[in-house]
Amino acid sequence: MSQSLDAYLLLAAGLFAIGTFGFLAKRNAIAMLMSIELMLNAVNLAIVAFALFTPSLGAQGSVIALFVMAVAAAEATVGLAIVIAIYRNRRTPLVDEYASMRE
């Protein structure tokens, strides 16, 4: 099982689906960010898995995964900064009250 690509991919799919649900369902902006992290991890897992079962790729998969992590870190930084900035203005972390982009 640990030698089957499908297993890894299914695992990634599960993680991704959970992340999707979280992103769509949670009201708290930070919870949404967490969900995004979950989804990113799912993708990362998929990348690593593909790399493992494609010998010609060698260590490339790991490298890509590392890059994704770096970018994710950047994303988290900015995302959280935005949440904090909005929170400071609106005094709430709940996204459905951030509706001034409506008009």
Partner: protein, 182 residues
């Protein structure tokens, strides 16, 4: 030092067992992340989920990625998120307000999505060899990062720098506004 290749009685390989265990931990805690009504608890479960994933990486033969996972996700991002939680959680919202009204649609959509991805995974005949994953040498990864992909690496470092600066800029207290307030 010499454990049998397979588990007694079941004939399962140890690896598989570990894999299953880790996967279970990871998925379970991930579910708890999204289902938990307490945001702090969500954060902690997320750490657990990341830990499980790191284990899977290690198991799959990518120790570097596993290490990075621990360092970056658990060490940096999770902490960051927890800090953010603490900064914004002055008044804990009522429990009823954790989920959107569309949560049940989202749940269905997620399940369908899972089904779809799963189906496509199972239906696809991947050409990759079903060989045992090989452990990649750290050395090889280093060469790839600092030699072949050094430009991308530099770009990423710039990106991180920009993110840090940007983060500070965005989250910075508007001093003039503060003075007005004071």
């Amino acid at each position: 030092m010499s454990l049998p290749e397979t588990m007694p009685y079941t004939g399962w390989r140890w690896d598989d067992l570990v894999f299953l265990a880790l996967a279970g931990v990871m998925l379970g805690s991930a579910l708890l992340v999204v289902l938990s009504r307490n945001i702090i608890r969500s954060g902690l479960f997320m750490v657990l989920s990341f830990l499980g994933l790191a284990g899977i990486y290690a198991l799959a033969g990518s120790p570097i990625v596993a290490a990075a996972q621990v360092l970056v996700y658990i060490g940096a991002i999770s902490v960051l998120i927890l800090f953010a939680v603490m900064l914004t959680q002055s008044k804990a919202g009522p429990a009823a307000l954790v989920f959107q009204r569309q949560a049940w649609i989202a749940a269905i959509a997620s399940v369908v999505l899972l089904g779809l991805i799963g189906a496509s995974i199972l239906l696809t005949d991947f050409p990759a060899a079903e060989a045992l994953p090989t452990v990649h040498e750290t050395r090889e990864v280093a060469f790839l990062i600092f030699d072949a992909n050094v430009f991308a690496f530099e770009v990423v470092s710039l990106l991180l720098l920009a993110a840090v600066v940007g983060g500070i800029f965005i989250a910075r207290r508007d001093e003039s506004a503060d003075e007005e307030g004071a």
